[in-house]
């Protein structure tokens, strides 16, 4: 009997909340949370040539510090909670990297150190291995698709 009363009370409360919700449909949506990686980053390794990564305003640019290549990408989606993002290729010059029309990425941010694991395509997000080092725990070898950056001052 008591349970039945409680269920009724909950149902009424939910209906009331739903009513409140319908009233709020005209309210301004909350602004999207800014991408936590928005900044300039210096590449630390392990296996690509030195470059900089600039992330801001929905775009990502990889630029060779020697000026020999650059690539620009649109950030199609990002998820600060799950540390993931997706990219679509916009433009490139020289022998740029990464290569492909789209990329999916998983990342870890530890202080000023950023580890990004990229994989071509949008089928799935890659598993992040070697966070903080981009090298295999067993053999110390560079992990393919893994890039290590430090935030630029």
């Amino acid at each position: 009997m008591r349970i039945s009363w409680l269920a009724t009370a909950i149902a009424v409360a939910m209906l009331a909340l739903a009513g409140c919700s319908s009233d709020s449909t005209t309210a301004t949506p909350a602004p999207a949370e800014a991408f936590e990686l928005d900044a300039s980053w210096i590449y630390l390794g392990p296996s690509d040539v030195p470059h900089e990564l600039k992330i801001d305003d929905g775009s990502m640019a990889f630029t060779d510090v020697g000026g020999n290549w650059a690539s620009n990408w649109a950030i199609k989606s990002y998820d600060n909670e799950h540390h993931q993002f997706r990219l679509a290729f916009t433009s490139g010059t020289g022998a740029y990297l990464p290569v492909g029309e789209s990329e999916s990425a998983t990342y870890e941010l530890s202080g000023t150190l950023l580890t990004i694991q990229l994989t071509p395509g949008v089928a799935s997000y890659p598993a992040l291995q070697g966070a903080g080092t981009c090298t295999g725990a067993a053999d110390g070898m560079p992990i393919a698709g893994c890039k290590l950056y430090i935030k630029k001052n």
Partner: protein, 254 residues
């Protein structure tokens, strides 16, 4: 092929140093070195040309695999210009075979604690012998914060481990002036300026292994880096030649 010792010294390493070396680093843009504290030079030091070896050093005292490079991206990032230059110099001098290489366990992005623990473990994995070490450390600590108060003690602990493992000589390299152009990264420079004297004191206070503090700032010129942190080809040549000249002077891995 590999190591060496000054003939008649009764052992490897500098004949007279007792642990100290060229803390002032290089003196010229050619990659030459200054101090003679490292013992017999055999004519190699100061040349900056690389590839010159001491005629007074015993050959074959240290195997290439017993020469280990530790640190972070300065030595780890591909292509490893510095290591490649040292090896080129060593091959020209007949101290390293055409297909032989030193062991590089440096890992990008790592702080001093990682270097002193995980990298040292990697260097000695499987009871691997290590006789001569080239290393840096503390730069990532500075990039990640504004100081590294523990770097000196961590380095001292590492030197103790090295002594136990039988390491004979260590070259600790002070970072070049950060930024492009060199010195333009004021915040990082400030941290390095505060941290490196402690590393120098720790290094030069070690007699077993003998630790030689080599300052890379004098040989680091415009164009030696483009990102302000890592060497270009010319940066690798300047640093590599300086380190090789120190190795010649101290009869390390000749």
């Amino acid at each position: 092929m590999g190591g060496s010792a000054p003939v008649g010294s009764g052992g490897s390493g500098p004949a007279s140093s007792g642990g100290m070396s060229s803390s002032s680093g290089g003196t010229s843009s050619s990659g030459g070195t200054s101090s003679a504290a490292g013992g017999k030079s055999g004519g190699g030091a100061g040349s900056g040309a690389g590839g010159m070896s001491s005629g007074t050093c015993q050959k074959g005292q240290i195997k290439p695999a017993e020469v280990v490079i530790m640190g972070e991206s300065f030595y780890a990032i591909a292509p490893q210009y510095i290591q490649n230059r040292i090896q080129d110099d060593a091959r020209k001098a007949g101290s390293l075979g055409a297909n032989e290489t030193y062991r590089n366990v440096a890992v990008s992005g790592q702080n001093m604690n990682y270097i002193a623990t995980t990298e040292w473990t990697a260097a000695t994995q499987g009871n691997a012998s290590v006789k001569f070490v080239i290393m840096d450390g503390g730069g990532i600590d500075c990039l990640s914060g504004s100081s590294c108060p523990t770097c000196g003690s961590t380095f001292k602990t590492l030197l103790g481990k090295m002594a136990t493992a039988g390491v004979q000589d260590v070259i600790y390299t002070r970072y070049p002036e950060p930024g492009a152009p060199p010195g333009s990264n004021a915040s990082l420079k400030s941290c390095l300026d505060a941290t490196m004297p402690t590393m120098q004191t720790t290094c030069e206070g070690s007699t077993m292994p003998r630790c030689h503090f080599v300052d890379l700032r004098p040989v680091w010129k415009d164009g030696d880096t483009t990102d302000g942190l890592h060497p270009t080809t010319s940066g690798g040549e300047h640093v590599g030649d300086l380190l090789w000249s120190e190795m010649v002077k101290g009869c390390f891995a000749q």
